[in-house]
């Protein structure tokens, strides 16, 4: 079944996204001789605010730079050339756990920002599933670009590919706390894959099915306008224009990666000198 929402006045929409970057791998030996891994890295998170009739603008942008160590002991690095690292410890000793922690922190920051914007009346659309939106009462919408596993029974799953641009599937329940639906946001070309331009939306259940329905209709109405442009972004059209631009802006705001790595190396060196002295 395909639902084509009636054209609506686009509501002011806020697209929230984040980027993160590992800027160096660290290790240290614990007192018992075990090798503990850490990472230095940064994330940035922000929003693009789109109001009808106005040039989209960058909303608040937040960045953080961390040194994250496994094994439960934080390691503080001295600041270098304006670079500062917040020291964080995690219990896990898995090699990729520190980078995973950086990703988690970025997603949390995205969730916080989306909630704040939603509370201010924006139609907040956050990149990725709603896992890190803690409030279940705000109509924050998660936008999922990739579809790894079918969420619907096979006969319904097959129908997703028949959606036309600007149409959505009916809402279905996802887990215990979310509604979801598929939306096509771009007209597929003659040789496009059947799922070209399909994104999945997620909304919290707590506001009720009516609010959820109204919200996804608004989002379905808004999204095709912002669909990504193929020659500009390899992830188009699912990666929306504001989101693509925001990611670039955020990466710029993280600064030059090689300079950050250099600063981290100097900081580690100084830290080592201080410890041995």
């Amino acid at each position: 079944m395909r639902i084509a929402p009636a054209p609506c006045e686009p509501r002011p929409a806020a697209f929230v996204d984040g980027v993160r970057r590992g800027e160096g791998l660290l290790y240290r030996q614990s007192d018992d001789g075990a090798l503990l891994r850490g990472t230095v890295g940064a994330y940035g998170c922000g929003a693009v605010l789109c109001s009808a009739g106005r040039v989209p603008v960058y909303g608040p942008i937040q960045t953080g730079r961390f040194v994250i160590f496994g094994g439960g002991v934080p390691v503080a690095l001295p600041g270098v050339d304006g670079y500062q690292w917040e020291a964080i410890a995690i219990a896990s000793t898995e090699p990729d756990a520190p980078l995973q922690e950086l990703q988690t922190r970025m997603r949390m920051a995205e969730g916080n920002l989306a909630e704040r914007l939603a509370a201010d009346g924006w139609l907040a659309i956050v990149d990725g599933p709603l896992s890190f939106v803690r409030s279940r009462d705000l109509p924050v919408v998660g936008l999922v670009k990739t579809h790894h596993r079918p969420l619907l029974p096979p006969d319904q799953h097959r129908l997703v590919a028949t959606l036309l641009c600007g149409e959505r599937t009916p809402l279905f329940v996802l887990g215990t706390d979310r509604y979801s639906c598929y939306v096509r946001i771009a007209v597929p070309g003659p040789r496009s894959s059947p799922w070209h331009g399909i994104v999945r939306l997620e909304l919290p259940q707590s506001a009720g099915i009516e609010v959820a329905r109204k919200t996804v209709d608004e989002v379905t109405c808004v999204l095709p306008r912002y669909a990504g442009i193929a020659h500009r972004d390899p992830r188009a059209p699912q990666n929306l224009q504001p989101v693509g631009a925001l990611e670039k802006q955020l990466r710029r705001r993280l600064g030059n990666a090689r300079l950050a790595s250099r600063a981290a190396r100097i900081a580690v060196d100084r830290h080592h000198t201080q410890e041995t002295a």
Binding site: V48, C50, G53, R54, V55, P56, V57, Y58, R225, Y226, I229, H231, R232, Q241, P242, G244, A245, L246, K248, Q249
Partner: protein, 591 residues
């Protein structure tokens, strides 16, 4: 004038650190609220690690803008038109450094704030604190704040001469030259700078186009309050026409001896009719300014001219009872053949019967015809080839209809008795124009060789390329090169205009301390090395009234404008006086 010293400096933005900056130029990322125009003056301060505070003063030379994030032209459409993509507009102003104070060769700090230079900062930026020899307003900027020139570079103390370039019609060269003369001669500031010699200072102005400059003593009818305000900005509250001007016009060609002379200046019948009596022509050796075509000098003709000039002087005696006329006698009054020695003393007058009487140019031609006859009894031409002598005669004969009417009885010499002397040459043939300019300018220059720098003599001449062309040689070109090189210490200051500096003898456009350009011809602009690349390009788009001035004090040329003239710059612009109006009405009634 309002005192703006107390207005706090306005921040414009910060020095862009995204591109390398140097000691000569930098770029300012403008604040969203900042508005700045080309040619505005800015200042940026920094404290060096040594604790010394340094200020960089600069001038805005260009502005750029970019939407950051837009990588393809179509991105701009998505950002600005369909409004589906965010972008951040950045505006930058490019600055050329005018001055570092104190004079330290350091680059400004990237990221340092930049403010508009106002009040004392503006004065520093324009080196006003260093203009010890006095300063004279030579125009104003976009905000009608005056821009000053260092007077010691205008009066010959440290430098002199003004060169004004630009294409005809829109560059306003003559207007600007007159404006400068006005500021020097007519304003209290200018007269104060001239000092005790102010009343003796003279300007010789050649009128080369229409009868435009023959009305400088009359008010301009279109001077309104708004235009008066421009003068007020230069501290000239009540601009008036030139107060002390003499006008000279050539006689009309033709007419027999003894007939009433008719002035050729139709819109200025009262102008004095100028010319040279045969005696003055001969004794001042003006024959040398008759043959000024470049091909006249590349042959032996120039040599014949020298010989003839000296022989004429040796054989010419004043005519008894008819001042100005001469008698050419067989007997020379001097044994010397050096011209300067021959004219060192005046021979006694003789009566008409003593020889061949010369009352005008045609009489002179008759004399030369006889005296240069190789078979005649008084051959002046020596051993020169007959062909060369004939070539000389042919050239002199050809000049008769062109400048013959200037050498006759009854004409007045051009004497600089008033502050400004306007000499009309616009209707004359090229050869005659060169003759008049050569005769008068050499007269001024020679007079000043003996009297020292002050009182100053300004010579304002348009179309310099006619008189001092880049290629070739001749007495006129040499005269101007000499003035360019030595004139400033002798107090002879040239205010020269030309359409293209590249066509004028190199010292004549290189020596001037003040170099001014109006609208330039695009094919020519590359000649003006003293302009920055941006200004060269911009100067091809200047509107009339916008000029750019390069002066020794300020390392970067500064664009400027100048006020509307209070004096008429052609016949139609002159406001009628009450008497003239009454006269017009009376003439109409009489019809």
């Amino acid at each position: 004038m309002t005192d703006i010293t107390d207005i706090p400096n306005d921040r414009l933005g910060a020095i862009d650190g995204a591109a390398a900056i140097n000691t000569r130029r930098f770029s300012v990322v403008l604040d969203d609220t900042a508005t700045v125009q080309l040619d505005e003056l800015v200042v940026s301060r920094q404290t060096l690690p040594s604790g010394v505070e340094v200020a960089h003063y600069g001038i805005v030379t260009e502005q750029t803008g970019v939407i950051e994030g837009a990588e393809l032209p179509s991105d701009t459409r998505h950002i600005a038109l369909t409004q589906t993509m965010p972008g951040q507009t950045s505006r930058c102003a490019e600055i050329s450094v005018l001055r570092t104070d104190p004079e330290l060769w350091v680059a400004p700090n990237p990221g340092a704030t930049v403010a508009q230079a106002r009040g004392a900062d503006r004065e520093k930026a324009l080196f006003l604190d260093q203009m010890d020899g006095g300063r004279l307003a030579i125009g104003f900027d976009q905000e009608q704040q005056p821009i000053y020139g260092d007077f010691s570079f205008m009066n010959g103390v440290q430098g002199g001469h003004v060169s004004i370039s630009g294409i005809s019609g829109v560059a306003a060269k003559t207007s600007y030259a007159l404006f400068l003369l006005y500021m020097i001669l007519e304003t209290p500031q200018g007269r104060a700078l001239l000092g005790p010699a102010a009343t003796q200072t003279r300007a010789l102005v050649f009128n080369v186009k229409g009868e435009d400059l023959m009305h400088l003593d009359r008010a301009h009818k279109n001077l309104n309050d708004e235009r008066r305000a421009q003068w007020a900005a230069l501290d000239v509250p009540d601009p008036q026409p030139f107060g002390s001007v003499d006008f000279f016009a050539p006689p009309q060609p033709g007419g027999e001896q003894g007939e009433q002379l008719v002035s050729s200046a139709q819109s200025r019948p009262s102008a004095t009719i100028y010319g040279w009596t045969p005696e003055r022509f001969i004794r001042e050796g003006l024959l040398r300014f008759c043959l000024t075509d470049s091909d006249d000098r590349s042959t032996q003709v120039g040599f014949v001219e020298q010989v003839v000039r000296a022989e004429l002087a040796r054989h010419a005696y004043p005519l008894d009872s008819e001042p100005g006329a001469v008698v050419i006698c067989d007997e020379p009054h001097s044994t010397s053949r050096t011209f300067e020695r021959i004219v060192g003393s005046r021979p006694p007058a003789k009566s008409a019967g003593a020889g061949h009487v010369v009352r005008d140019f045609y009489d002179l031609l008759d004399v030369l015809d006889v005296r240069l006859d190789p078979d005649g009894p008084h051959n002046w031409s020596g051993n020169t080839q007959q062909g060369t002598v004939m070539a000389f005669l042919r050239r002199i004969m050809a000049l008769a209809p062109r400048l013959g009417h200037l050498i006759r009885m009854g004409v007045q010499p051009v004497e600089m008795n008033k502050a400004v002397t306007v000499v009309d040459i616009h209707g004359l043939h090229d050869s005659a124009q060169r003759f008049v300019v050569g005769a008068l300018v050499s007269g001024v220059f020679e007079e000043k060789q003996a009297t020292g720098r002050e009182p100053l003599r300004f010579v304002m001449l348009d179309e310099l390329n006619k008189y001092a062309p880049r290629d070739g040689h001749g007495p006129l070109r040499e005269l101007f090169v000499d003035i360019a090189e030595r004139g400033r210490s002798l107090g002879v200051l040239l205010i020269g205009c030309q359409q293209a500096a590249g066509r004028v003898a190199e010292p004549v456009v290189r020596q001037p301390a003040l170099k001014i350009c109006g609208r330039l011809d695009a094919t020519e602009a590359s000649e003006y090395k003293f302009l920055t690349a941006e200004l060269r390009e911009r100067a091809t788009r200047f509107l009339p009234g916008t000029m750019v001035c390069s002066q020794p004090r300020i390392p970067v040329p500064v664009p400027l404008r100048f006020p509307f003239p209070p004096y008429a710059t052609n016949t139609g612009d002159a406001a009628m006086t009450a008497a003239e109006q009454a006269q017009g009405v009376a003439a109409f009634e009489a019809l």
